[in-house]
Structures are given as structure tokens and as C-alpha cells.
């Protein structure tokens, strides 16, 4: 009997200890579980895998900033009494393919329990996963996907920190007017990005009644030989050829236009900042000289304190100079963290509400907001755009002169001699 009572006492003590441990955990004596931020980006072909790698680096830096410089989420900031909570990253590969993006988004939310997702680069992939963001009500920020429909469709959980088609079209049409050019050819891939840019450019020309004749041709993104279309453009003698290829097609257009004597005799404008990447000169060599291209960042642009931190730490961590893809992915991670802190919650619905009503630090300054605005401006914040030109081989983008806008201009368009 005595022995039996002893065993009962031991059992009771064990139950009491287990309960005590459970209570202790629930009141925060143990470290809180980290909050997961999801990155869904192209890391394998046919996506622009270089962009994906750069975005992941930026996201890793963002997590570093949140966990060190910000001291984690919550922890007394904004009057939030939740314990300081670290952030972790979960990465999924979209391959730039819609169905893979959908599968990746689902995994991030259901398996990794991501509170917010960012990192999109290809518009088609982003648009495919956007309805899922609404279904799960998990905020999904477009880091570099720019098709108008991403925000024009007014998804409740979708946001964007990247220039939209009208921003890009307005920039190059402004540049075209400033140069006094009138005949413009546009070779665009058959994706949401390419088609969206053709439509935005046509719409803006019509809306502003500009004296610009646009000859736009849409090509199949998987085509490897664009010589016939380029020969057609060469015969038409345009003032400018806008290259709306992404990844491999962007390079093929430059190479093949050069082969037939179209470029650089006819100026070419790259629709995004692929020339800032290291492989640009490796792939093109002297052929790449004289290209003008849209860029979202140039070292002459003033960075915010947040942007300066990112630039310095990026150089330390990766022994390389930060570019827009790094900085914007970094910025998206920090925006999500700030929204969680402002909401004092890791509940994705509350984070969405915080994103809609808050103002957030950005790498470029000015503060990002995501209002429920009309049309394409819904949940949209755009960083500034510049047009740069490579004027000599192996030039780095920070040495490239800024041609547009006039307020930042550091050089004029240089034609080949």
C-alpha cells in the first residue's frame, strides 16, 4: 500500500511538472517560434534564375536586418507586448512558370506557415498565384513582377513595390520625346509582362496624343532565332528598338540585332535592368556597348538609412555591390516585418490590414504606402526609374551615365562612331 502510494505520488509530481512546463511555455518563458517569411522566386529555368538568386540574397539580408538591427518582431515596439520574435525564411522555386508558382505558394502557406510571401519576378507566375493569396488571405508582395493586372485586378491580399507597366511606358516615352525620336519598334515576348508593356505604351501614346509611331511585334518567348523580325525592323529604320525580352531572349535580341547590323546603329532600350548583372559583359562582350536600359537604382540616387544599411551589409556578406533586385527584396522583407510590428500580430489578415493603412520605410526613402486606390494603383508603390547607357565595354552600371529623367541626368545619349 505504501509502495503504491509512492508510485502515485511520483505520477502526480510528473503530471504537475508537465503542466508547469506547458504553462511556462505558453507565458513566454521559452523563446517564441520564429515567424516565417516566404520567398517565391524563379530559381530554375525557364525563369530568370539570376533574378531569383539576387532576390533570395536580398531576402536573406532582410531577415538579417529584422533579427539584428530591428531586434526581431514585436518585443515592445509600437506598444506591442508580444515577446521579441525572430524571423526565418522559407524559399520556393517558381521557375517563372504559373503552375509551379501556384504549387510553391501553396507549400509556403500550408507547410511552412508563411505569414507573408514576396520575391515574384515573372508576371505570369505572380498572376497565377495571386488568387491563392486571396484564398488564404496571406499578403503577397510583388518584388519585381510588373504586369498591370497584378494590382488592377484588386486582389485583397496582393501588393506591389515595383514599377508598373504605365510607369515604365511613361519613362521610355518621356525619354523618346526628350531625344526627339518618332519611329519606335518594340519586340516583346508573349508573356503578361511583354504584352502588358505593349498595351501600356500604346495606351499612353494615344492618351497623350504623342507624335510617336509604334511598331510592336510580339514573339514566342521560347524562340531562339529572332533574325526575321529584326530584319523587318532594320528595313523600317526605326529611331529606337525597345527590347522587351526577359532573361535569355533579352540577350538573344541584342546579339542577333548586332549580327545583322541593326544595333547599335539603331539605338536599343532594354526594358529592365538585366545589364547590371555580372553576366551581361561575359555574354555580350563589346556587343553590349551603347545599350540603353531601364534601371531602378543607380548609386547617384540617394538611399535612405535603411538602404545604406543594406548596401553596406550586402557588400560585406556577398562581396558584391547591391543592385535593385537585392534592395527591393530586402525592402519587401522589412515592409512585412514592419507591418507585423504595427499590427502587433502574426495573423496574416491583420498584416494585410496594417499594410493598407500604414506607412513603411523603404530602401530609397519617401515611405511606401499601399492604399486601396483605383485601377492599377491599388496596393501599389513604385520606386523611381532611370534610364542608363553603357558607353564602353566592361563598364559597371554605377559608371554608366543617367540619360533620363532630366532631374538626374548625368550624360547624353552616345551613338556609335
Amino acid at each position: 500500500m505504501k509502495a503504491a502510494m509512492g508510485r502515485g505520488g511520483v505520477a502526480a509530481l510528473t503530471v504537475a511538472m508537465a503542466l508547469a512546463l506547458g504553462v511556462a511555455t505558453s507565458v513566454g518563458w521559452a523563446a517564441p517560434a520564429p515567424v516565417t517569411l516566404g520567398v517565391l522566386t524563379p530559381l530554375s529555368p525557364p525563369g530568370d534564375t539570376s533574378a531569383g538568386q539576387l532576390i533570395v540574397r536580398g531576402a536573406e539580408l532582410g531577415v538579417q536586418y529584422i533579427n539584428t538591427a530591428m531586434g526581431g518582431l514585436f518585443g515592445g515596439k509600437n506598444g506591442c507586448t508580444l515577446p521579441a520574435t525572430p524571423v526565418r525564411l522559407a524559399v520556393e522555386d517558381s521557375s517563372g512558370v504559373p503552375e509551379r508558382a501556384v504549387a510553391g505558394f501553396r507549400r509556403l502557406v500550408t507547410e511552412d506557415h508563411a505569414v507573408g510571401v514576396f520575391g515574384a519576378f515573372h508576371s505570369s507566375a505572380m498572376l497565377a498565384a495571386a488568387p491563392l493569396a486571396d484564398e488564404f488571405m496571406v499578403p503577397y508582395i510583388s518584388t519585381q513582377a510588373s504586369a498591370a493586372d497584378i494590382t488592377r485586378k484588386h486582389f485583397a491580399a496582393v501588393f506591389r513595390t515595383h514599377p508598373i507597366d504605365p510607369d515604365r511606358a511613361a519613362t521610355w516615352l518621356g525619354f523618346i520625346q526628350a531625344q526627339g525620336w518618332h519611329r519606335v519598334a518594340m519586340l516583346a515576348e508573349n508573356t503578361d509582362y511583354g504584352i502588358g508593356l505593349v498595351e501600356a505604351t500604346k495606351a499612353l501614346i494615344a492618351q497623350k496624343k504623342m507624335n510617336v509611331a509604334l511598331d510592336a511585334v510580339i514573339f514566342d518567348r521560347t524562340s531562339s532565332d529572332l533574325t526575321p523580325q529584326l530584319l523587318k525592323f532594320k528595313a523600317a529604320r526605326p529611331d529606337l528598338l525597345i527590347n522587351v525580352g526577359v532573361g535569355t531572349p533579352a540577350y538573344l535580341i541584342i546579339k542577333q540585332a548586332h549580327d545583322i547590323g541593326l544595333f547599335p546603329q539603331t539605338p536599343m532600350l532594354g526594358s529592365y535592368d538585366f545589364p547590371v548583372r555580372a553576366e551581361y559583359w561575359k555574354n555580350l562582350g563589346p556587343t553590349g556597348v551603347y545599350l540603353t536600359f531601364i534601371s531602378y537604382y543607380h548609386p547617384r540616387m540617394a538611399l535612405s538609412p535603411l538602404g545604406k544599411w543594406a548596401a553596406v551589409e550586402y557588400a560585406k556578406r556577398y562581396h558584391d555591390t547591391a543592385i535593385y533586385s537585392n534592395l527591393n527584396a530586402f525592402g519587401d522583407a522589412v515592409i512585412l516585418a514592419e507591418a507585423m510590428s504595427q499590427a502587433c500580430s502574426r495573423d496574416p489578415r491583420k498584416v494585410i490590414a496594417a499594410l493598407e493603412r500604414g506607412r513603411f520605410d523603404t530602401w530609397i526613402g519617401g515611405g511606401a504606402t499601399f492604399p486601396r486606390a483605383d485601377g492599377v494603383l491599388w496596393h501599389q508603390w513604385s520606386p523611381p526609374l532611370v534610364i542608363l547607357q553603357y558607353t564602353q565595354a566592361e563598364q559597371t552600371y554605377d559608371q554608366a551615365p543617367i540619360l533620363y529623367p532630366p532631374s538626374m541626368k548625368t550624360g547624353t545619349y552616345q551613338a556609335p562612331r
Binding site: 530559381l43 530554375s44 529555368p45 525557364p46 534564375t49 539570376s50 531569383g52 538568386q53 508573349n190 511585334v217 510580339i218 514573339f219 514566342d220 521560347t222 524562340s223 531562339s224 532565332d225 529572332l226 533574325t227 526575321p228 523580325q229 530584319l231 523587318k232 528595313a235 532573361g247 535569355t248 540577350y251 538573344l252 546579339k255 542577333q256 549580327d259 545583322i260 547590323g261 553576366e279 561575359k282 555574354n283 555580350l284 562582350g285
Partner: protein, 296 residues
């Protein structure tokens, strides 16, 4: 349409068509001898491009691209023979049922393996060696020097290939196996060795196409995907198993793509080839040079 412009389109189509031929001949050759379709042909094309790029940039230098070319072809051919010996030979040795399905599964698995290996070894980036030659003016068409080299290289390789097949003992053995495997075996030909050589030569041609086109179409893990599709289109257009059909089919496809994309729309460039394929299948189901056959 301006006749000069039309001539340019035709020339551009013929140049690209000539390059397509190499890939198609490799596929046809393997099919003729081994009676199997190698779905990983595009990946051997991709490997040829990578080997050429590495040889030029890391070892030989851009001036010695012509030396790198045979090395790249031999490397791909050796890899092909190894693959045939380790993965495909057992299906013939064991006399498995459903050989076609076995070969399909093995070669499709190889496509996944090789693409992922390329990503692991070189990253997902595009690479391009320097052009092999300065631009050339062909009539009214300025052509990239590397394209001219690729076209001429394709012609030389196809000529050599025809010479081997028509004039050597090996060619005789290959043709006899292509005609009747059992008959060739009865005549004392070592089938497993001929299969291995045929596979090596076939993928070597794809590797040559990849190496020749490395500066033209860039090198990246999925660079072979489209080449495989084109190759299969061509062999069906030309007639399965017909080498002359593959060559004519290659030129036809190049022309149709070039003219279709400027006269109709470049958005459907790859559709024109399939349109031609469907049309030919409707009018002549065996392809241009194919022969009707009956199986007991």
C-alpha cells in the same frame, strides 16, 4: 514585299535550317540502328555547348575554338557511349519486353538528370563564348560569323558522317544493323558494340550542334529543350529513319519558321513547324522520304 528583304528571310531560314539538320540526323541515326527514340538528345546538345564553353574559357582560349570543337564532340560521344553501355545496353541484353517504354523512361529520366546537373555545376545562368568569326555578308544578308561557322561545320560533319556510313566497314555494319538486326547478328556483327557506337555517334552530332551554336543561342540548362522538339519535328517531316529526309526536313522547317514569322506573326513561330508537320502527315503519313512498313 521587297525582294531583297524576302531573300534575306529565305537565307536566314536556310542557315538556321542547315543547323537544325545536325540534330535531326543524330536522332534519325540512333532510331535507325537501335530502333529507339532518344528523348535526351537536346541534353546532349546542351552538354556539347557547356563543354565547348568550358574548354574555350578555362583552357584553350577563344582563338582556339576550332580545337575545342572536336574535343567537345568526342567528350559528348564518349558520354553517350557510357550512357548506352550502362543504361541502355541492359534492355537489349536482357531482351526485355516493351523496349520502347524502357528506352523512353530511361532517356526522359536522363533529361531531368542532365538539366539538374547543369544547374548544380554551372548555376542557372546563361553563358556565351565569343563569336568564332567576324560577321559575313552573304548577298544582301549580313550574317553572324558564328552562324556561318555553324552552318559550314554542320555541312562538313554531315559530309563526314555520310562518308563513314557509305564508304567504310563500320558504315556497312551500321547499315546492316539498321536494315535487319537479326540478319546482322547472324552475319557475325557484334550488335552491342554497334549499338554503343551508333549511340555515341548520334549524340556526338547533337553535341557538335551544341558546341557550334554556343555563341549563337547561348548555353544554359534548358538550351536543349527546343532543339529536341525541332529535331523530332524534322524527322517526322522527313520520314522516320530517313537521313536525306532529315536534311530536307531541316531546311524546310527553317524556311517555314522564317517566312511564317515575318509574313504572318512571330508569336506563333513554333506553330508553323507543327502546321507543316500536320499537313504532311495528312497528305503523306510516312513523311517525305519515309517508307511504308508492315509488321507481322
Amino acid at each position: 514585299m521587297d525582294p531583297t528583304l524576302l531573300t534575306q528571310y529565305v537565307l536566314a531560314g536556310l542557315v538556321i535550317g542547315g543547323i537544325y539538320c545536325l540534330m535531326a540526323v543524330g536522332i534519325t541515326f540512333i532510331y535507325s540502328v537501335m530502333k529507339m527514340i532518344n528523348w535526351a538528345m537536346g541534353e546532349f546538345y546542351m552538354i556539347g555547348g557547356y563543354v565547348q564553353y568550358v574548354l574555350i574559357t578555362a583552357w584553350l582560349g577563344p582563338q582556339r575554338w576550332a580545337l575545342a570543337l572536336p574535343l567537345a564532340v568526342l567528350t559528348v560521344a564518349a558520354l553517350g557511349m557510357l550512357v548506352q553501355r550502362l543504361l541502355l545496353q541492359p534492355m537489349f541484353a536482357g531482351q526485355l519486353e516493351r523496349l520502347d517504354e524502357y528506352a523512353t523512361i530511361v532517356t526522359i529520366s536522363l533529361t531531368v538528370l542532365f538539366r539538374n546537373l547543369a544547374v548544380v555545376l554551372f548555376g542557372p545562368y546563361q553563358f556565351s563564348p565569343r563569336d568564332y568569326a567576324p560577321p559575313v555578308q552573304l548577298g544582301p544578308l549580313p550574317i553572324n560569323g558564328s552562324r556561318v561557322v555553324a552552318f559550314l561545320g554542320a555541312a562538313v560533319l554531315l559530309g563526314l558522317f555520310a562518308l563513314v556510313v557509305r564508304r567504310t566497314w563500320l558504315g556497312l555494319a551500321l547499315r546492316s544493323v539498321a536494315q535487319n538486326r537479326l540478319g546482322a547478328l547472324a552475319a557475325g556483327i557484334n550488335l552491342s558494340r554497334i549499338d554503343m557506337l551508333a549511340f555515341g555517334i548520334g549524340v556526338g552530332l547533337a553535341g557538335a550542334a551544341g558546341a557550334l551554336l554556343a555563341p549563337v543561342f547561348l548555353v544554359y540548362p534548358e538550351s536543349g529543350a527546343l532543339s529536341t522538339v525541332k529535331g523530332f519535328e524534322i524527322i517526322v517531316i522527313g520520314g522516320l529513319g530517313s537521313l536525306p529526309g532529315s536534311i530536307v526536313g531541316g531546311f524546310l522547317l527553317g524556311l517555314v519558321e522564317s517566312l511564317g514569322s515575318v509574313l504572318i506573326s512571330p508569336s506563333f513561330r513554333d506553330v508553323y513547324g507543327f502546321g507543316l508537320l500536320l499537313l504532311l502527315l495528312a497528305l503523306r503519313p510516312t513523311g517525305l522520304w519515309g517508307e511504308q512498313a508492315r509488321e507481322a
